[in-house]
Symmetry: C2
Subunit: 350 residues, 2 copies
DNA sequence: CTGAAAGCGCTTACAG
DNA sequence: CTGAAAGCGCTTACAG
């Protein structure tokens, strides 16, 4: 179907080994005339070298593996996109395997090993605590992760989550807020705990304690953020500000606040996290902490490639985040009497 | 690093060919005792078969290629996710290559061919009119696409875009709207033209003509939808409803309507397209046409795998879409006097 | 049931 | 500068 080096060589009237050298551009090793003939033959034949055969002898497949848990997630898909591009720029194709929910992630690693990827990039926050994955990842190949990996030992490229949480807290306390709630992701996740720790510790520095009833857990979806915000306001209607750990959840939070008749930012400020493309177009435009997803994905791929070349590298790279102030935050106004809950229907149907 | 069949065979005291047979589970071909010994040896050695070597002899790499233009796009990432899963379920890994903006997509195809993927799945609407891609795709490998491919000849799995547009139009005219605008994607795209055609033709059936000033083009982003909606309302302030071709752009449209002091749905109805996870949590919850992205990705992968097996298959599969009515649409109320534009600041700053 | 041969398409020393 | 040998790790007939 593709023809082989032998076909090219035959057409050019040389041995297939010479054809190999000419095609691989070894500089002074084939005469210009012969090389030209070989190149032409390859072209006429539509020759496509076989990376499997090349990989077999050179012991390098020219691919990296990317292990993802869910790349329909807007943040993760940005990681993957940037990583694939960075790898491609260095001549590596990306073999992407998703770890199926409920199945052993070591199987995904194994699949990549069979394909002889040169290294593995992990983009799978939901598998942070999975011991099988940690063990499989430490076994043979160079690996780099954008999230924690069970048991450690895998270089990490990420952003400073604690600083991120602190940024949100400082902004809100700076605006005079003293009763601040938060909607977190699943507490099992490191990102979640780190962002929360930064947030909580920063509040503490201004003398604020964060009681349990001001913390609501959600699952990173808009639906989850919506439900959690309702729970939060149920438990403490007097909150004047909410820090939501992702913009997707924040979208649900804004929705819940509206359902409760709370005007943002007048009656309640909201700070998100991530800064997606849509974030400036939420209503009101959301103040959020910008997370450099693309840069992270790119640097993670670069780090992996360097490790594959045997270079010694940093064991951790933390990229800075920064606050983007838009219109969902405003100075605190004490508002002791919470409005009653208005139902969807009443609000929406004319 | 991985050990080879020879290592396993040596440890089990058999020839490597016998080890191969045992490991590949050929049923009656190796005695149970020998097989058990071989399996144990492989296990103890941590043997991982080399898919490159296997692929070289069996002429099948066990991978499919997925050519994507942008999988940070929420719709496309759902396609990819579902396709990867479907392929994985049938024992195929996914080699994902993104066509870099501005570079020849035939290079991406070539890269996949070098890796000897068994077939190519195309998820790249921005390359619909790229002749180089069409030519490259028709050259050798089985291919399936979720969007049009230049020059035709590639089986398509998609949804009925014209019906999608019609669904939106019928809903809006059924509510009594007679001055309906639309925000489309880039007019070069087939999806865009098909959705538009269905929309326009359906309007026509109720005697409505769609003048040029009621059509605004955008680039599929929230930012684009936002700007296009402003242009639309500038050109014709009396519109009572807008059909937006994607939920991402609709988010921007809702924003623009708010900036103009238009209440949705009382002063203007909005219908979106796609039905993403966040869509029910927009404000107001967006009426939209549900597009079966995951199902499309899955069926596309299945179709490709069947073609790779040499089966004759349908040349086109169009999955149905359906309207999901939420709260952004309401019966038309004539409102001849448009409100003045209010600026961000006035609306948002207390 | 087991083994030895041939060959998949390459690259990399090694001769000439 | 060009060619012939060896070998990467497998699978698939073919013998025994």
């Amino acid at each position: 179907m593709y023809g082989s080096l032998k076909d090219v060589a035959a057409r050019a009237g040389v041995s297939f080994q010479t054809a190999s050298k000419a095609l691989n551009g070894h500089p002074r090793v084939v005469s210009d005339r012969t090389r030209a003939r070989i190149l032409r033959a390859a072209d006429e034949l539509g020759y496509v070298p076989n990376a499997l055969a090349r990989g077999l002898v050179s012991q390098a497949s020219g691919t990296i593996g990317i292990l993802v848990d869910d790349f329909a997630d807007p943040a993760l898909s940005q990681f993957v996109k940037a990583a694939e591009r960075a790898a491609g720029a260095q001549g590596h194709a990306a073999l992407i395997v998703t770890a199926q929910r409920g199945s052993d992630p070591a199987l995904a690693v194994r699949k990549m090993e069979e394909q002889r990827v040169g290294g593995i990039l992990v983009i799978a926050p939901s598998l942070e605590e999975d011991e099988r994955l940690g063990v499989a990842l430490r076994r043979r190949l160079p690996a780099v992760s954008v999230n924690h990996v069970h048991g450690g030992g895998i270089p990490l490229v990420g952003s400073d989550h604690a600083a991120t949480g602190a940024l949100a807290a400082e902004h809100l306390t700076g605006l005079g807020h003293r009763r601040i709630g938060t909607v977190t992701g699943l507490r099992g996740r490191r990102v979640v705990r780190s962002r929360h720790r930064g947030f909580r510790d920063s509040l503490r520095q201004t003398g604020q304690h964060l009681p349990r009833r001001l913390v609501a857990e959600a699952d990173w979806t808009s639906a989850g953020g919506h439900a959690a915000t309702h729970r939060l306001l149920e438990a403490e209607p007097r909150v004047t500000a909410v820090f939501v750990q992702s913009d997707g959840m924040a979208l649900g939070a804004l929705h819940a606040l509206r359902e409760r008749g709370r005007h943002v930012p007048d009656d309640c400020s909201v700070v998100g996290c991530d800064d997606l493309e849509v974030t400036p177009y939420l209503w009101p435009p959301l103040t959020t902490v910008h997370v450099p997803f693309e840069q992270t994905g790119e640097q993670a791929a670069d780090l992996l490639l360097r490790r594959m070349r045997g270079e010694t590298t940093a064991r951790q790279i933390l990229l800075p985040t920064h606050l983007v102030v838009r219109h969902s935050t405003a100075p605190a106004r004490e508002r002791p009497v919470p409005s009653p809950i208005r139902r969807d229907k009443e609000l929406l149907q004319p």
